[in-house]
Symmetry: C7
Subunit: 90 residues, 7 copies
């Protein structure tokens, strides 16, 4: 089974806190707008978006917005392009 | 009798919970934005949308938005394109 | 006397409940967004809309929006294109 | 003295209730969105609008919106294009 | 000293009640959206607007919106194009 | 140190009340929308805006909107184009 | 590890108060809309934005909006283009 997001949506698997520490990014609970790291599982049909974000990319996204789903018992998020803040490299 | 959605609307028959377990997707009741699986019965007149979603596709949609109708005693939804999150393959 | 809707408006005569049962569509009172069947009496001046909806079509529309008027003592609705959900064939 | 509406505005003289009965349109007080018949006195400078509505046309407009003015002691309305629902012929 | 409005703004000197009576327009206090007559002192830099409204025109404008300023002790208004309802001729 | 506003922003130094009296403009405290005179220090990168407003121009701006900053102990404002009402000449 | 902002986002490291005094800009706490200086760490994928703002630029941004993140224990902000008020030179 494969999930193909529509238009400018992105399917993301949130990365757990241990991994976050390793990447050196720490997202404070008290931040006025919360964000989180995630792994891109699938990118929507929008071609321009596909040129910017690839499957396997690590992304930083805002926690406000997006839809939570569970795939084979694992939490995932379906986000809109505007929820994606940045791609994390290295 | 056939229902032909206008513009970017999609007619969907929601899939019941048993089928959802089989596909490995589980949609938690507590998710902040609820979603649900459905079977596409008819796609609107918008050509670009028709190139992305076909009759018979399984889709994931957000529960907020859309209009409930009963066709021959079965629950259906008429959704806008923006309510469709992803196409589920396999 | 003839009413010619402007731009993307559509003049519709709502269809009564008996006819709804015959077409196999039943619109529950408890649905979060109510819809209703109607007969298209006149389509607005918008050419693109005229290629999608014709006089005599049966349409499904959302009850939110539109303006109620009585023509020769019969209830009618003037709807915007965005209030029309689908065309019902057969 | 002549009033020339700007852009997509339309100057309308509302038609009194007696005339409304004659045209067969009755606008219920209880309708959720109120409308009213009127006579077009002048059409705005927008060319596309001028091809759709002429001086002397009878129009149906929504009562929400528009600005009331009195010209030589008679009530008039200056409406935006979006307040005009339909042209009434015959 | 000269004031040149920017973009689609218009500088207007409101006309006092006596003049209003002469032009035959009376603007009721109880109108749901208030309007007022004024004399155009300067038109903004927008070329399309300059083709529609000239210095010296009498205009009808809605009282909601606009910024009050005093020039050499006289009340003036700086209005946006959307605040101008009509040009009054003759 | 030089501040270069981005896009359609304008850096303005508000002019004090004495200067305002000299120019003949008086901005009443009771006006429903407050405005103020200022001197343009720098215009944003937007080319169309640069053709309308120059460094050294005196402008009238609405007090709602804009961001206050102090440069070398003097109050300044960074305004958006839509906050600028007019250029004052002479 | 490198953070590459998406679209029109900008990654900024806020500059501390000492540096602010040196540049001659002082941002009052009581200002109705708060702003702050920062150092641009990375500019989003939008080409037009890249022609206006470079890595290493000092920028003035509004404090409302943006997402706080910590990178290697240092506070950073991911801002939208509309949050950037100006580039500070020299």
């Amino acid at each position: 089974m494969k999930i193909k997001p529509l238009d400018d949506r992105v399917l993301v698997k949130p990365v757990d806190p241990v991994e976050k520490t390793q990447s050196g990014i720490y997202l404070p609970d008290t931040a006025k707008e919360k964000s989180q790291e995630g792994l891109v599982i699938a990118v929507g049909t929008d071609e321009d978006l596909q040129s910017k974000i690839k499957e396997g990319d690590k992304v930083l996204f805002t926690k406000y917005g997006g839809t939570e789903i569970k795939i084979e018992n694992t939490d995932h998020m379906i986000l809109s392009r505007s929820d994606i803040l940045a791609v994390i490299e290295g």
